[in-house]
Symmetry: C2
Subunit: 311 residues, 2 copies
């Protein structure tokens, strides 16, 4: 029997996804019908972007699952009309790989003190080599698919990496901590902190005046996770006091970041426009097809969201 899939996401996404999804669904051996318009009562699966026009799931009476195109589900998880399984995107080849590149690049940028040479006046020849990575402790908050992959990559380059997560985890050669006492231990003395936690009530403002004070003086904060993980006023105060020497921020409470936001003008803040990583149509289409295959076969879905935990 034909499986009906509604692609509910902005138009430009359909342009990017139509070909790879069609190919991936065929490669998965599925007999499917996919499109951007479909009678709600006929839909088996929704491939979904939280920015889509579909906000009321009530009319989708035979819906089996919603497959999110994004890693973050905070904009959809609170939707009371959504009662079927919800999957966040776990796109190892695209999303995770892109995040590893961005995080590794920006950690090395700060570790090496590159900005000095990129922006400083010409003619200044000051020979001073940075310490090696072994002497630069890095802490990653969040050890999900993204945090774990970044932890491994940074450890591979030579950084001593401490990871923190809500529940206990074990990763070879990474100091893994958890819970409230673990958080203080993970932040204490860290020279570079990378935020890769999901956005939940428990993680909001996890980087605040108190936790920022635990860092090594002059630490660097890198946030490719979610804007609300940071108490913005506390971070700006820590930047002004010198407790934090630089912040590179890719995500914000409001995006695009409003033009009057103090982050734009701050000399020790780098704003990047939510480019740290994104789902790549080729690899994401294969993950979606695999999840539909699993759904039809009654197998566990990849990236199934835990509603209680919030991600």
């Amino acid at each position: 029997m034909t499986v009906n899939i509604l692609f509910a996401a902005p138009k430009e996404d359909w342009a990017a996804y139509e070909a790879p999804l069609t190919e991936a669904l065929a490669a998965a051996g599925l007999d499917t019908e996919i499109g951007t318009e479909m009678a709600p009562e006929a839909v088996d699966y929704i491939v979904y972007a939280p920015s889509s026009e579909v906000q009321d799931f009530t009319p989708f009476t035979r819906l089996k699952a919603v497959l999110n195109l994004w890693a973050g589900v905070e904009q959809v998880i609170g939707n009371a009309t959504l009662t079927v399984p919800l999957c966040r995107m776990i796109d190892e080849e695209g999303l995770t790989q892109g995040m590893v590149e961005w995080v590794t690049g920006h950690v090395l940028r700060h570790h090496l003190g590159m900005d000095k040479h990129i922006v400083n006046p010409d003619g200044v020849w000051e020979h001073e080599a940075p310490p090696i990575a072994a002497d630069r402790p890095v802490t990653i908050l969040g050890l999900g698919a993204l945090g774990k992959a970044c932890a491994r990559a940074l450890r591979g380059i030579g950084f001593p990496v401490t990871g923190w997560s809500r529940s206990p985890k074990q990763i070879a050669n990474i100091q893994c901590l958890h819970g409230d006492t673990g958080l203080a231990q993970a932040l204490r003395g860290a020279q570079i902190v990378v935020l890769l936690l999901p956005e939940t009530r428990a993680t909001e403002n996890i980087l605040n005046a108190q936790s920022l004070a635990l860092l090594h003086r002059g630490a660097v904060v890198i946030n490719p996770g979610r804007g609300p993980l940071i108490d913005d006023a506390a971070l700006l105060a820590a930047l002004d006091s010198g407790q934090v020497s630089h912040a590179t921020l890719d995500v914000f409470r409001v995006e695009p970041l409003p033009s009057g936001d103090p982050y734009w003008a701050h000399p020790r803040v780098t704003v990047t426009p939510h480019v740290a990583s994104e789902t790549r149509p080729g690899s994401a289409a294969r993950v979606i097809a695999e999840n539909i295959r699993r759904g039809e076969a009654g197998m566990p879905l990849i990236g199934l969201v835990d509603r209680l935990a919030g991600y």
Copy 2:
């Protein structure tokens, strides 16, 4: 019998090396005398910086080997008074590790297009994610200790890496090419080129108008090797024509780079003051001690220079 070691390098080096060398020599079980002043005819080994005052090796009548503190030997190899074995520094923990960090960092910087966000005007939110590393071919010229380590690190992050060396080499998951035809093949279509060749007559100006034309249009050149590897006029012309979109240069024909040099003012050139990597006293001292132990035991030395090849 006591082994006499002359430390012939600038004073600040002695300050950094005295303690780690003393410790490493003792740990190697050697009975040594080491200092910055010693009767030449008593000296068994010289720990050497080419910038040292010692330029005539003739008075050192019982000299067994010269152990260079630097990876490059071009400033000493032509010294006709030096007839005993000469070793270049192979400091995996310090020099090689530092180079891996610098090269990986700058390759990722260019790959991710970081400069745009570091230097550009505030308030510009242009969401455009870079391709993933798998779509960014990188070529490394030189597959010695430094080039090989960088090739492996970049491959580990996901870049397709091609390496080129004078003589054939084999490295897992790296396309290794050699010789003149191999050079053209290695450069053709490369989007990022990293120079890690030794400075010899054969490598001088290896990046010239002809070889630069083989690169992918808009390629990036990264030179942490030696200044003379590049034909400077050809590189400036390629930057102006757009054939090369950016050059990050750590080494130059004259260092410090003179204040009037066109590289300083060029908007698409980043000058770094020879900081890509340097010998680290702790680990380098262990390599020197190990070489003296080997020398006394009649074993092959680490980093022995081939006078014919020039490195």
